[in-house]
């Protein structure tokens, strides 16, 4: 008979612990599946919020990029029409860097060298930062700092020592306001400003000069029309005047300008009139006027001819078949007008009749690009003004995320607490058999993490999928290619991880309590 000696109990092997845990889960499959369902819901919500945030921020970037490309022709027509003012030039310079288009253009227009220009950009940056700081202040604070001065006049105002002193004093008393520039930087900025202003003026003057040269060449021709030839003659004129324009940009601009012009031509088709003169037997003539395109559209969409809008026209032209039909109809009319002296087509102004001979493919192409532009606009409207706080989520969504995490945590903790409570007797028995407190805890934490993993995977899948489908429906299938699939999977992975960790952490408290219970106390609970 061996004597009783006390020694330390060894740890149960990890494999055996897992075996026991899995057996336990299998035995209580129903309870486990309820817990897993809670986790699925919570993680699905989490993933959904995350996925939709990611998708929206990606689509936002996509839309902004597409829109700036589509706006290039407008940028250029503004650039070629007016030199801009000092403040807008300052902002442009503050955002540019060495080697950019604007940088090279300024170098070419004026005879400033690189270092002068780089310095000018840096100085512009600090001015923009300073003015931005003032603009974000509320009225009372702003007034106490710079009185009523606005924009660049602020710098003028601050140059008076008396004003600077009051600015400094006010800054000292308002503790919530922190000026982004130090006193030295501020002084340097103010000292540099007069010289800067001269440089800025030089740039603006040079621009005005270039614009003037160009408009002499245009000789009254509309700018849009000229822009259609940016890829050939007009492009070199622009370059000669001193602007920077590479051939890629030139091609883009002329394409966009042509599209705008053709759109106008096509839209004018609605107003084309067909005039038919008939001679009555007594020798007098009467004329009969119709608007054939309006009539054609009215038939196709069963409306009154006067109700037909350009929108109907474009919608119809999206279909190649309709485009061909319209084109055939137009050519027919043209033929009949040239065959007979009594019939003729008329449009105001006459060159709009050019639209009749456009190939139907062009109709479709323009209709489609219009649809793309309108879907981009719709997407931009859907996304609205957003300020990313976290992972492409705005503040409200970030809050929702935090709350969903809490729901997830509380749900899992509650489920684990119930699971532990109903297993008191089992815990007590295991302790009687020599289980260490650590083993009991590990068993529950493992169980909970396993459920967290399963629930997390399913939840992430559901949440991600629902978010994806919802966003696809909201923005339309055109945005399929803009979906951040890789990031989506990353987000889903993160959700699985969060679900698992949350489940494991949620199990720690109840299992710690259970493990610490004296065996017979636990046994008594039945």
């Amino acid at each position: 008979m061996k004597p009783i000696t006390t020694a330390e109990q060894p740890w149960l092997s990890f494999k055996r612990t897992i075996d026991i845990t899995i057996d336990g889960i299998r035995y209580r499959l129903f309870r486990a599946s309820v817990t897993v369902a809670i986790i699925i819901l919570a993680v699905a919500f989490l993933t959904n919020v995350l996925a939709e945030g990611l998708i929206k921020s990606k689509i936002n970037a996509h839309v902004t990029e597409r829109q700036t490309i589509n706006q290039r022709v407008y940028d250029w027509s503004a650039r070629l029409a007016t030199p801009g003012d000092t403040e807008s030039l300052l902002e442009e310079l503050a955002m540019t860097k060495e080697g950019s288009r604007l940088f090279r253009e300024c170098r070419q227009l004026t005879d400033m060298n690189d270092s002068e220009l780089t310095q000018l950009c840096r100085q512009s940056q600090s001015i923009v930062v300073f003015l931005g700081f003032l603009n974000r202040l509320d009225y009372a604070k702003r007034r106490s700092l710079v009185h009523t001065a606005e924009g660049l006049a602020v710098l003028q105002w601050l140059r008076l020592p008396r004003n600077m002193a009051s600015f400094q004093q006010a800054l000292g008393t308002i503790h919530s306001v922190k000026c982004p520039l130090s006193q030295d930087e501020l002084n340097r900025m103010l000292d540099d400003f007069p010289a800067m202003e001269i440089q800025l003026k030089r740039i603006l003057d040079a621009r005005a000069q270039a614009i003037q040269t160009l408009s002499r060449h245009l000789a009254g021709r509309p700018l849009l029309e000229a822009l259609c030839e940016t890829d050939s003659g007009f492009g070199s004129l622009i370059r000669q005047a001193g602007f920077m324009l590479d051939s890629e940009e030139a091609a883009l601009i002329s394409r966009q300008a042509r599209a705008i012009q053709d759109e106008l031509l096509i839209e004018s088709l609605l107003e084309v009139r067909l005039i038919r003169q008939t001679r009555t037997h007594d020798g007098s003539t009467s004329s009969h006027t119709t608007q054939p395109v309006r009539q054609f559209l009215a038939q196709a969409s069963s409306q009154l001819p006067s109700d037909v809008t350009t929108l109907d026209l474009w919608t119809m032209l999206e279909s190649p078949r309709n485009a061909r039909l319209l084109s055939e109809r137009l050519l027919e009319m043209q033929d009949s007008s040239s065959a007979s002296d009594d019939v003729h087509l008329e449009a105001l102004p006459p060159h709009f009749l050019r639209a009749i001979s456009m190939p139907p493919e062009r109709f479709v192409e323009l209709a489609e690009s219009r649809r793309e532009a309108s879907s981009l606009e719709k997407a931009a409207r859907l996304i609205g003004v957003r300020e990313d706080v976290f992972f492409g989520l705005d503040e409200r969504m970030a809050w929702l995320l935090v709350i969903s995490l809490l729901v997830c945590g509380v749900g899992i903790t509650n489920a684990m607490m119930m699971s532990v409570t109903e297993r008191f007797k089992e815990i007590a028995t295991l302790k009687c058999l020599g289980a260490l407190d650590g083993f009991i805890m590990l068993m529950f934490v493992l169980e909970s993490s396993a459920m967290g993993l399963v629930g997390g995977c399913l939840g992430a899948l559901f949440g991600g999928l629902i978010g994806f489908i919802r966003m696809l429906f909201a923005f339309g299938p055109e945005f399929f290619s803009a979906m951040p699939i890789g990031n989506l999977f990353l987000g889903m992975g993160a959700s699985v991880l969060i679900g698992t960790i949350l489940a494991a952490v949620a199990a720690i408290i109840p299992s710690f309590k259970a493990a610490r219970l004296a065996p017979m106390e636990a046994m008594r609970v039945e």
Binding site: M1, K2, P3, I4, T5, T6, A7, E8, Q9, P10, L12, S13, R16, I20, D23, G24, R26, Y27, R28, K425, E426, A428, T429, L430, K431, C432, L433, G434, A435, L436, D437, F439, A518, P519, M520, E521, M523
Partner: protein, 249 residues
Amino acid sequence: MTTSSSAIDNRRVIIRTVELRKSFVKKGVTTEALRGIDISIFQGEFISVMGPSGSGKSTFFNMIGGLDSPTSGRVFIDEVDVAQLTAEELAYLRCHKIGYIFQSYNLIKYMTALENVTTPMAFGGVGPDEARERGMSLLELVGLKARWHHRPIEMSGGQQQRVAIARSLANDPSVLLCDEPTANLDLSTGQEILELLQKLSHEKGVTVICATHDHRMMDICDRLMWIRDGKIERIANRGDVRIEIGGIE
């Protein structure tokens, strides 16, 4: 203490309690479950603890089994003060030195008979192959070798209790604590369990401490102890009791 024959006085004391008291406080009401128990239990003896329901038998068991701590007084197991043990040492004690048998069997529901028997071995650090072999021979000992893969719900009460006995013997303990092992069983099944315990006590030399209402226990135990209201009412050797009962009847 009235009786204690000189024949067993020189044997080794395996469990000793000194002034053992336990009171429960619930909602301000104090229940004194044990009110000073002093007893020495010798190695290899079969002692039966009798007393009406609520007299403190289970509480006494939990104290000497290291399952709960006394309000005052001491429990020595093999001259080691249980109160001095760390959680790990207590786990070791429960795993290797004491086997527990409960009125309601307390098998782990999701484990087979064999797994139930081998779990304490795993806790004790026995490898899976050896555990399996030993588990099977223990199941054979209780006559359930053929049902090693059955889960508790697939077995009768008596069979479950026999698995519990096999489990309590897993790590070859010195002491077997049985809290009313036959209370949930019918008469003949109870009889089988009692015979099994007696056999174990004789063949393996295990100290068996058995709380019971069952009067048949008197026939198989070496010593009897009566508890009433948390106090030892009487301790007697089996031989003496027989004579007394005979005298009364």
